[in-house]
Amino acid sequence: MNLDFIWLAVGEAISPTTAAYALATIGLVIHFGFTGLLNFGQAGFMAVGGYAFAITSLKLGWPMPFALLATIVASAVFALILGIPTLRLRADYLSIVTIAAAEIIRLSVKTAELTAITGGATGLNGAARNFNELNPIPEGRYGFGVLTYSADQVWVRLVGWALVLLACLIVFLLIRSPWGRVVRGIREDEDAVRSLGKNVFSYKMQSLILGGILGGLAGALFILPRSLQPDNYGTQLTFFLYTIMLLGGATTVFGPIIGSMLFWLVLSLSDGLLSLGVQSNILPITSTQQGPIRFIIVGVALALLVVFRPQGLLGKKKEVFFSA
């Protein structure tokens, strides 16, 4: 019996994809967990960030720092465009506008007419080149067993998780600042905060921009180990992020890290176990039927979590504003 999949699952938990999901979820925690904005378009922010990063570094040949700056500016601008008209809307309206905006982004970048810029439906490949040129780690193989990585793979993991920890630190400090208190006040009772003379709209906008920038950076991080595919940014990416957020705790700073690692560990383990069962003919399903099972697990987990443990693994029950 080949038990490598257990190690592969552990490797999945520290992969750059897991880091990117964690980073995007931190952004979502700022929006939903701390400000109460029901943003269903985080996938759109990731797409904007990913495309900004890929286009500036591939098509325009900008060096890494400028491409990163472009990523931040593009996601901030997207947040502004989305926020100015919508932040006055009710929560459920906001959710529909954001989900629609994310889909508009995805459908627009994949049209054939934009192929010269966005690569159309095939997307863009090789955005990581500039990033890997900055790699200070000497060539070689690092790690042990099936978890052996090339220098570039180690580099992207180091940078990815450093970025996640940095984002956590920023959020940790912000939430304890006066700004954080106002934002959490908006989450609990918008009118009360308004009556104290605070500009609720402006605070919401700042929150949307901040979380959106984290989403955009996550989009850039997400494409470093892979090519950019427009269909990766469908609505279900956002729903995965919601699952991760609710798993770790929607109102916690470090929940997204735990949530993302656990999410990918469980998916990877279940995939491995299923493959094992299918190959040894224990499970009466075909290998093509194995693919959908992980999504069924996610869907059921999402529904059960929000009803039975809305505070997630790390959160406090009394801070769960949304099930009040």
């Binding site: 459908l107 439906a121 095939t122």
Partner: protein, 483 residues
Amino acid sequence: MTAHPIAPRLARRAAPAIVGVLLALFVALLAWATPANAAPASRAGTADAIDPATATESIAVWIRQTSDKAGIPDVSVTVTGDDFEQTVTTDPEGRVTVGLPGPGTYSVEVDASTVPESAGAIPAASNPREIDVSATNTNVPANFLASTTGGGAAAPAPSSSGGTSGSSEAPGGTAGDGTGAAIPQANTGGTGFWGVVASKLVTGIIFGLLLALAAIGASLIYGVTGLNNFAHGELVTFGGLMAYTLTGFGMPGWVAILGALLLGGLFGLVQDTLIWRPLRRRRVALVPLMIVSIGLALATRYLFVFFYGADRLTLPNNPKPFLVLGPVSLRFTDVVGVVIAVIVLLAVAYVMLRTKLGKAARAVSDNPALASASGINVDGVIRSVWIGAAALAGLSGVLIAYYQSLRWDTGSAILLLIFAAVTLGGLGSAFGALVGSLVLSIFMNLSTLVLPENLKYAAALVVLILILLFRPQGILGRRERVG
């Protein structure tokens, strides 16, 4: 939920108007009808030579004679693209569909030596031909006409993936967009701008009616529970899949359609009993309910993949045109779909306006506490709404499966269209949902006159956002609701 006193009155006033418009439209359709003769058949997704059903991009080749539009069988066609070359032969109808490895420009060449002399020759000017295939465009048409008059009759330009040329010979009209949201089937028989407009208008009206069946249910659920049901698309897919299963057992089409309606209603009852009712008892708030519906949507959608696979499924259907109205020709199932949709929509209107249940449902959406105090069984009304909404969605699913195509994500691909239609018409208003669906669908199909085909879905979503920003109460919604 807050009260909206104007909505029912508006609905009452608007309903006869809408019903009248629908009736007039339907009568006009019948009056203009002429029996179909030897007009070209219209059909997407014909028998596969190399299983293009699984390919996300495909080219539909159709080779016919100019004189009587008869298909030429056993003609060898070679499709070449980057790192791809495939030679296929046409079926008895002169068609063949080629699955492609990806989007790009492909060259389609008919082997002239395999065209029988009696059929004539294909003009060299149109053979070989370059076909642009955008991502996820299936059945991009590549049509060839052979004529004995020696190149006098040039084959019409192929409808490109942009789909705006509206070639008169395009099987299945224009190619579907990336989401599979709408694959127009109305065949444009006439040439010229107005022919294309008429064809798109008819496609828009038909799809709008089918969309309305789903949207009305979503709107009613929103009305009585306040929930934006993200799993509504799966109710639609469920109906299509049930019909597919029934026809797979050899049942005739009408059994499949009835079965989709009934089993859809049963699905709604089961969902309400197992999930929504217990959650109501727990007094779970709206945001978690919305997230539950998202989780349910994901789980159900991939259960469909688990049982039915990820490929496109086809319901048995007769591709022959049944009704030809000027530039537009419709298949038998298209016409039946419209008739069923109109009858059911009238029935819904009757139930909502003239029965106790409809009155109770409207009372619950106005003010559940007051409704409960006046002796209405709120929980029972909500259960009935779930059953009715799911049955309507199931019916919409089977009709959309007949009209366009069926896949595990047929419903979820139109979920945002359903939301857009509901919002456009005014959240919680059944008649608004009908008007919203029609307006949205017609707008979407007409937008392809100026926009690339695969952006029409995005165009519909832009309308959704604009409506939410500037008139959040929708067309028929009450004015005092501010988003």
